[in-house]
């Protein structure tokens, strides 16, 4: 399954779809990191608004994506975790510790703008 990755200046925006298999997620992880290298991106926003299930594999993959991108010197923000998905994640014992999250795409962009401003 193709995940659209949008380039907006120094930021890449990846929109995850509802029914991603493990293979899709693995492919995405590699694809995103490669794009960050290719475009010398400073940040990645992963929009998971459409994801209706975030199980242990999906949340581990998101954490790995964020850590790999951090090693590249860029920032990752996960946006759009739905309330019921957040509830299920907590019940399951899943955390996204050390990974920035924001309410939605707009908030994610605002967070990054603020961050870039202070570092420049």
């Amino acid at each position: 399954m193709e995940v659209p990755i949008l380039k907006q200046g120094a930021v890449l925006i990846a929109t995850f779809q509802a029914a991603l298999s493990d293979a899709d997620l693995n492919q995405l992880r590699m694809g995103l990191v490669q794009q960050v290298v290719k475009f010398r991106s400073r940040a990645v926003i992963v929009d998971v608004t459409a994801m209706d299930v975030m199980d242990s594999f999906a949340s581990r993959t998101l954490r790995e994506i964020a850590h790999m991108i951090r090693l590249r010197g860029a920032e990752t923000v996960i946006v759009g975790i739905q309330p019921e998905v957040a509830f299920a994640m907590v019940q399951l014992g899943l955390t996204l510790e050390g990974v920035a999250t924001a309410l939605d795409l707009e908030e994610g962009l605002a967070y990054l703008n603020e961050k870039f401003k202070t570092t420049n």
Binding site: A19, S21, D22, A23, D52, P83, G93
Partner: protein, 134 residues
């Protein structure tokens, strides 16, 4: 009251997605809230993932169940894989033998209302969980 039963063969990671989608659909049809349907779909995803990681193949059975004045959904994950030598240990948070997060079974137990596990080393594992509609 109609009794519905769905079997989903679990042979690959793609089947994990299809099992949880079918589970969500059944839960929604039974009148579960979106929140509860998400908990059920997440539990199915973890159970199907255990099958793929440990036994390679197995089956998920989804059934409507009728209790006293209440209706629910039953999810049974069956495989004839290597089995779990120490079930009590597998139910503790943080335990895993496949390098995964090790949250599978205790997490599933928290997501659902009823949880039963039978496992025989060399014979396979059956995990049966239920959630009742509020």
């Amino acid at each position: 009251m109609s009794v519905e039963e769905i079997w989903v063969a679990i042979n690959s990671d793609q089947d994990i997605v299809s099992a949880r989608q079918k589970g969500r659909l059944m839960a929604t049809e039974l009148g579960f809230s979106t929140g509860d349907a998400t908990l059920i779909a997440t539990a199915i995803s973890e159970l199907a993932r255990n099958i793929v990681s440990y036994a390679r193949r197995g089956q998920i059975t989804l059934k409507t169940v009728n209790g006293l004045n209440r209706q629910g959904i039953s999810v049974i994950a069956t495989d004839d894989g290597p089995g779990i030598p120490d079930v009590r240990q597998a139910l503790r948070d943080g335990f895993s033998t496949s390098g995964s997060l090790g949250l599978g079974l205790p997490g599933v137990r928290r997501l659902m209302d009823e949880f039963e596990i039978t496992s025989q080393p060399g014979r396979g594992t059956i995990v049966a969980v239920k959630k009742w509609r509020q």
